[in-house]
């Protein structure tokens, strides 16, 4: 609750600062605001749950994920500052909308009620439609926004219908209540089945799972890279947490209605993501498909979940987000000098700036999932979970997907280290250096010592 309040105030302040001429305060204000929101996340809540009619709960699931999203947004703004200075734009509107969508994302970690779920999802999505089109002069950005908007609203409709049907079956919007009703068997099965199916389709669309993934490459590619970074990290986290909350609290009693479906979708997502990524010429599109593949691995953990899997999900999200931010920030730095977006822009990067290429290599290898980096441990935890729950075949599919992914991730590494460079040297600002070192250190440290995350307080689990 505190977080939502602080973020709302912050977003409005940012807008006001934009109107006034004190733009130099913009970024410091955001940093302070985000820090306050982070602190507020752990302080006693100003509004008790009863004030929100028990629609939101700040609990052991929401706290870590909210913190992660706040920290990631912080990091993205650290990059953003530089990004937008280079691109010379009015920025306060973009900044404010990012913050608004963050509010939606935060709600998605906290909801205990279908209505709040829907509201959070929409706050986040509507802001994202605008953000995807925030490069107003680029036709590709506009196209991305339009596509995302049309498909997004359509999926929202499906999702809403699903919620309605579930309400029809159970007579409640409250997640816990729906859960107990389903477990007791005191529901209308046909409505429930249709409702869960439609809801699942809606959610799968939002997290970009196959076969509802077609918007992902276009939007990731068309949107400004910074927004893509935000979508690939914060938004994905929000989607996955929302998924986890919904299914673990409400639909555990109806497991047989959706687990098989979800398992099949997970395998499809892994294969479509990885195989399509193979054929991309443009790095951003490749990363979009790789992000789809990672959604597939995450779905593995969602299919096979028990009380432990939330910490694995969290670890996965941390490892994946750190590597993703590393990759995208490198991409942005390289793009400053080179306009084309194909693999060739990485050629000879090792000689143009060895530190940058090292950071990129570490991030990519972590995304591939090779030990001893964080990405390995993340995948490994998910696999352990899946095998423990008896999904051996799912794990084997995921393993084959991982092996395929080596090809496209290593194409960049090969380009960086084994091709002759163009003569443009890249110089890094101190801030980029520090950030990159942070990403590298985190990726290695998390991989070598995963208990750092796994032993965080998961009270009440």
């Amino acid at each position: 609750m505190n977080t939502i309040i602080i973020l709302t105030i912050l977003a409005i302040v940012v807008l006001l600062l934009g109107i006034s001429s004190k733009k130099q305060w913009l970024v410091p204000a955001i940093f302070i605001g985000l820090l306050l929101a982070l602190v507020g996340n752990f302080l006693p809540q100003l509004l008790p749950a009863s004030k929100t009619v028990h629609m939101l709960s700040v609990d052991s699931i929401s706290k870590p994920f909210t913190s992660l999203m706040l920290v990631l947004t912080f990091l993205i703004f650290l990059i953003a500052d530089h990004y937008f200075v280079v691109k010379k734009k009015t920025v306060e509107d973009v900044y404010a909308i990012i913050l608004f969508s963050l509010i939606g994302a935060v709600i998605l970690t906290m909801f205990t009620n279908m209505v709040m779920f829907f509201i959070g999802l929409e706050i986040m999505s509507v802001s994202l439609y605008i953000l995807a089109g925030s490069k107003k002069t680029s036709s590709r950005s506009n196209e991305a926004a339009m596509k995302y908007f049309l498909m997004g609203t359509f999926s929202t409709g499906v999702l809403l219908l699903g919620i309605t049907l579930i309400y029809g079956a159970t007579g409640s919007f409250d997640l816990a209540q729906i859960g107990t009703l389903i477990s007791s068997g005191n529901v209308m099965p046909s409505y429930l089945k249709a409702g869960i199916l439609l809801l699942t389709i809606g959610v799968l669309f939002k997290i970009g799972a196959v076969p509802f993934h077609f918007w992902v490459p276009d939007v990731y590619h068309g949107a400004p890279t910074l927004i893509t970074t935000y979508m690939a990290t914060v938004v994905k986290i929000a989607g996955v947490v929302a998924f986890y909350r919904l299914y673990s609290q409400s639909f555990m009693g109806a497991k047989d209605m959706w687990t098989t479906l979800m398992a099949v979708m997970a395998v499809a997502t892994i294969f479509v993501g990885n195989l399509s990524a193979l054929h991309q010429d443009r790095v951003k599109r490749m990363l979009a498909y790789s992000s789809i593949a990672h959604t597939g691995y995450l779905m593995l953990a969602l299919v096979a979940f028990d009380h432990k899997s939330v910490s694995y999900l969290f670890y996965y999200m941390v490892a994946y987000s750190v590597a993703t931010i590393g990759v995208f920030s490198t991409l942005m730095l390289v793009r400053e000098n080179i306009k084309e977006g194909t693999y060739s822009m990485f050629e000879g990067l090792a000689k143009r700036n060895s530190f940058l290429s090292f950071g990129m290599a570490v991030s990519l290898i972590s995304l591939t999932g090779l030990p001893p980096l964080a990405g390995f441990m993340a995948k490994y935890l998910v696999f352990v979970q899946a095998i423990n729950e008896g999904y051996l075949w799912l794990t084997i599919a995921a393993i084959i997907g991982t092996a395929i992914s080596v090809v496209y991730y290593f194409r960049i590494i090969v380009a960086m280290y084994m091709k002759t460079p163009s003569d443009v040297k890249i110089t890094l600002t101190t801030r980029s250096r520090v950030l990159l070192s942070l990403f590298i250190l985190l990726t290695i440290a998390l991989g070598v010592y995963p208990d750092m995350i796994l032993n965080l307080c998961w009270c009440g689990m």
Binding site: I387, T402, A403, V406, V407, Y417
Partner: protein, 480 residues
């Protein structure tokens, strides 16, 4: 403690080398590091207590909630493999003295990193740790070959990389599957995996997954297609690391994971693996006879040798396994010698085509003697290191199945054919090269060490078997 030093000392040197500003001294620092590691290993040999199977145990908590421990120990086989690695790396660095790679700090840093990972593989007693070091050993060799290799290196190394990753990911699945079967609190330690009681179908699944991983690494026919090209494009040190040490990881993995865990599956289905290995052995030997290029010939001969080793291990009998251990050491030393010879050809004459060489024995007598000894070791002449291992393995195979042994035995003859042919055409015949400098001091040192090792192990293989046998018996006894 000592095990941790063995693993992390090279890592420390690797870090120093990566951070090095003055690149001229990289080679010297690498050599120093490798020698320091050798000294530590020698201490381990001296202090090894044969009364216990496992020595130098260290066990630290790592990922407590998953039952993964940072645990290492050495039994006789581990110690021998550690010894092999620690001996070969300084030889490799010595033999590399003329290389002058670009960015030597990174090059030697990667070699030391590789050594560290190899040491981890050979001493880990925890399944996950084993896997992590296993993969960690792959990254440095990938970069060594793809950055300092020859023509067409990128494509070839990528193929190699994807092959091995694919195989080893299946090992991960099998390990996690075994882990999921262990009783609570679940654990990855080899001991708790060994204690599992697996049904035949479970053994078959696990065994196939392991076999895939190890068969790619060793490599066993038909998973070998990455190997000849990779050996040929790799820089000398890379070929040596790959063939001398890295493929032993595969055999070691079979010994450590398949033999004790899957006795029924091994006795029922092991024959298929053995047949594949023997097919590969004959196939590679025949191809080697027709090779026109030295490095490629070595690659195929190496493929033949490891085929026999794999077959011997898959019989899961004490005699042939200890033969396999002896041969792993012998082959490691031999193949490093062979690649050094190929590299000397390349340095002196800028070619490794056999048809361009000839008559060299007359003008480079020291080199000729060195080559002769390595070659004889490679064809398994009695009194050289190649003989005892090969003999024990064939004897073991004969007891297992005489027909297979008879076919495998042919390879010894074929081996003599291609090695003698190589020696005869490059060293005797008419002189085709204008000049050929004999071995210089550094090279001589490396050569003398290799020759000495070949002769010592040929005369006294009991040193190896006496260390290995208690460990082998222990591995076989888990399920007996």
């Amino acid at each position: 403690m000592l095990t941790l030093v063995v693993i992390f000392l090279p890592l420390l040197f690797s870090a120093i080398l990566f951070g090095l500003r003055k690149s001229q001294i990289a080679w010297r620092i690498a050599l120093m590091g490798a020698l320091a590691e050798l000294v530590v290993t020698l201490i381990a040999f001296v202090g090894f207590d044969t009364q216990n199977v496992f020595n130098y145990t260290s066990d630290l908590n790592w990922i407590s909630r998953l039952g993964v421990n940072f645990s290492f120990a050495m039994d006789g086989i581990s110690l021998l493999m550690v010894g092999l690695t620690a001996t070969l790396v300084p030889i490799i660095i010595l033999a590399d003295s003329k290389h002058n790679p670009v960015r030597p700090g990174s090059f030697y840093g990667l070699i030391m990193f590789m050594q560290s990972a190899l040491m981890g593989v050979f001493t880990a007693t925890d399944g996950l740790l084993f896997y992590i070091f296993w993969e960690a050993a792959l990254l440095p060799i990938f970069f060594i070959v793809s950055m300092w290799g020859g023509e067409n290196r990128v494509k070839i190394t990528l193929k190699f990389f994807i092959y091995t990753i694919f195989g080893s990911l299946f090992m991960l699945v099998a390990l996690v599957y075994l882990y999921s079967l262990t009783p609570a609190p679940q654990s990855f330690s080899f001991q708790s995996l060994y204690a599992l009681d697996l049904s035949l179908s479970q053994q078959l699944f696990v065994g196939l997954s392991f076999f895939l991983a190890f068969a790619v690494k060793i490599p066993i026919f038909p998973f070998h297609t990455w190997q000849p090209n990779t050996y040929v494009v790799a820089p000398m040190a890379g070929s040596m690391l790959l063939s001398g040490i890295m493929l032993k990881m595969g055999v070691y993995g079979m010994l450590r994971l398949m033999v004790p865990l899957l006795p029924e599956a091994m006795s029922q289905y092991g024959i298929y693996g053995i047949v594949l290995a023997v097919i590969g052995l004959i196939y590679a030997s025949i191809i080697a006879i027709n090779q026109q290029e030295v490095k490629r010939l070595i690659a195929y001969s190496s493929l033949a040798h490891v085929g026999l080793i794999a077959a011997a291990v898959l019989t899961a009998t004490a005699g042939s396994i200890s033969g396999a251990v002896v041969q792993m050491i012998a082959h490691g030393v031999n193949v490093v010698g062979m690649f050094m010879i190929a590299n000397i050809f390349l340095l002196r004459t800028q070619t490794t085509q056999i048809s361009n060489l000839g008559g060299i024995a007359a003008i480079a007598p020291r080199f000729a003697i060195f080559f002769m000894v390595v070659m004889l070791g490679s064809v398994a002449l009695p009194l050289t290191s190649g003989f005892p291992g090969e003999f024990m393995m064939l004897a073991g195979l004969f007891a297992y199945n005489p027909y297979i042994a008879a076919v495998a035995g042919v390879s010894v003859v074929l081996g003599a054919v291609y090695m003698f042919r190589l020696y005869q055409r490059s060293m005797y015949a008419e002189l085709k090269v204008e000049k050929f400098e004999d071995l210089d001091t550094t090279e001589s040192v490396a050569a003398i060490i290799i020759v000495a090792l070949i002769l010592v192990f040929g005369l006294y293989p009991g040193f190896i078997t006496s260390l290995a046998e208690p460990a082998i018996n222990a591995l076989l006894a888990y399920k007996a």
